[in-house]
Symmetry: C2
Subunit: 245 residues, 2 copies
């Protein structure tokens, strides 16, 4: 089984949750839009996929994953949480039992909600306008996020870790939800450095989990490689000092 | 197998997607927060669940579904899309093949994104403040939603239906994604009556699907029953004339 990941080539964004799972799994994948155009890569390859009128099940938006299966049709999966459900089941990144699988799915969907709220801190009133054209609204939304939502989300993860006693969110083994929480913590530290430093004083278990993920051999190698795109102000986690009070 | 659904008792909200699936399945369920308190119901029962310090896997937010299984522990599932994955698999509301299951999941997650954007039209800058305290921001967000996002979402569903030729989103049989699209269409017609009337001129297949769902015998009976809560201005789909231009 090999994979083609389709996602915007210059940001971590939602695609990064998929990249981390593929890297931890040691999977054979190609990050298509980051490959060079004359080898079938580039953003154009992604756009062509999306616009293909022959595709019965077109993805709504990146990321989407093409699963190349020997002896079977390609499987195309869109939506980050659905992609991770697939990778979790096929690469030992989710529990085998039904209750465990649904729990990891629930964790991931809650992280997705957090990520959507982070995006809204810099784009509260228009998804198609620039941040600079919605700065007062962003300041208000970011304040609400820092004061109310931050503690609610991080406190929930902290409680789960306190009750679980394994250092992971879903039992004795790492799952894709742990990778995703690491990514969320990394992004929040970048975007909201001050607020996150305050918040993490109350969530030592969350901080410890993030540190443990960063020390996984494959993740450590990935983070040090050019495959890891740096956080920047085109992605979801953006550092605007005026929003990080 | 019987179910306890935990959701806010006075709104359709995200819980309605679960209610529709339970109704179409003819499942044996109790809508706990709508039951009377001395029979173990009421909003307090829901809050007690959420705050239970013994719960290793506490739900982050309603809706959550408690699955009462003969001879096994209760299974507690939070997050609408995860609940529907469970109900789809156990009640024939999703395809049996892997590609079909992931497709229905992807459809549902995209509907969830749409629903989150609808919520943001009346709460763009603060989830904890009232609509009346963020009306100018809401007007801007709603305009962006009507002009840009509406056509993108509905156009995607229309293309899928045009290409599928079955009248349903995922093959020859109704799935929970069809029920959810019906609910989204119903909500949009309520909240954005004018914009939706314009949009539906371009999406006859979507309108036809919604009509077909409404005529399913169990759904029709449900919609006519007191179990169906009316749309109102506490829910996600709210009609504010100033946002529906």
């Amino acid at each position: 089984m090999t994979y083609e990941l389709h996602y915007w080539p210059t940001i971590q964004g939602r695609g990064e949750f998929v990249r981390l799972a593929l890297e931890e799994a040691g999977a054979d994948y190609r990050d298509v839009a980051r490959a060079i155009p004359h080898e079938g890569g580039g953003e154009e390859a992604l756009m062509n996929w999306m616009a293909d009128p022959e595709l019965a099940r077109p993805p709504f938006a990146p990321p989407f994953l093409v699963v190349k299966r020997a002896g079977a049709e390609d499987l195309v999966i869109g939506q980050t949480a659905a992609i991770l459900t697939y990778l979790g089941a096929h690469h030992g990144l989710a529990p085998a039992d039904e209750a465990g699988r649904f729990w990891v799915d629930q964790l991931q969907l809650t992280i997705a909600d957090l990520v959507a709220e982070v995006h809204d801190t810099h784009h509260p009133v228009s998804l198609s306008a620039y941040y600079r054209d919605q700065k007062p609204e962003a300041a208000r939304r970011a304040a609400n996020f820092r004061d109310q939502r931050f503690p609610k989300f991080l406190g929930w993860f902290e409680r789960i870790l306190e009750r679980g006693h394994t250092g992971w969110l879903a039992g004795p083994e790492l799952t894709y939800a742990d990778l995703s929480l690491f990514q969320a913590v990394s992004g929040l530290r970048y975007a909201f450095a001050k607020a996150m430093a305050r918040a993490e004083r109350e969530t030592p278990e969350v901080s410890a989990l993030a540190a443990r993920v960063a020390e996984r051999p494959r993740i450590r190698a990935y983070l040090a490689s050019p495959r890891r795109i740096a956080f920047n102000e085109d992605g979801i986690f953006r550092h605007y000092p005026e929003l990080d009070l």
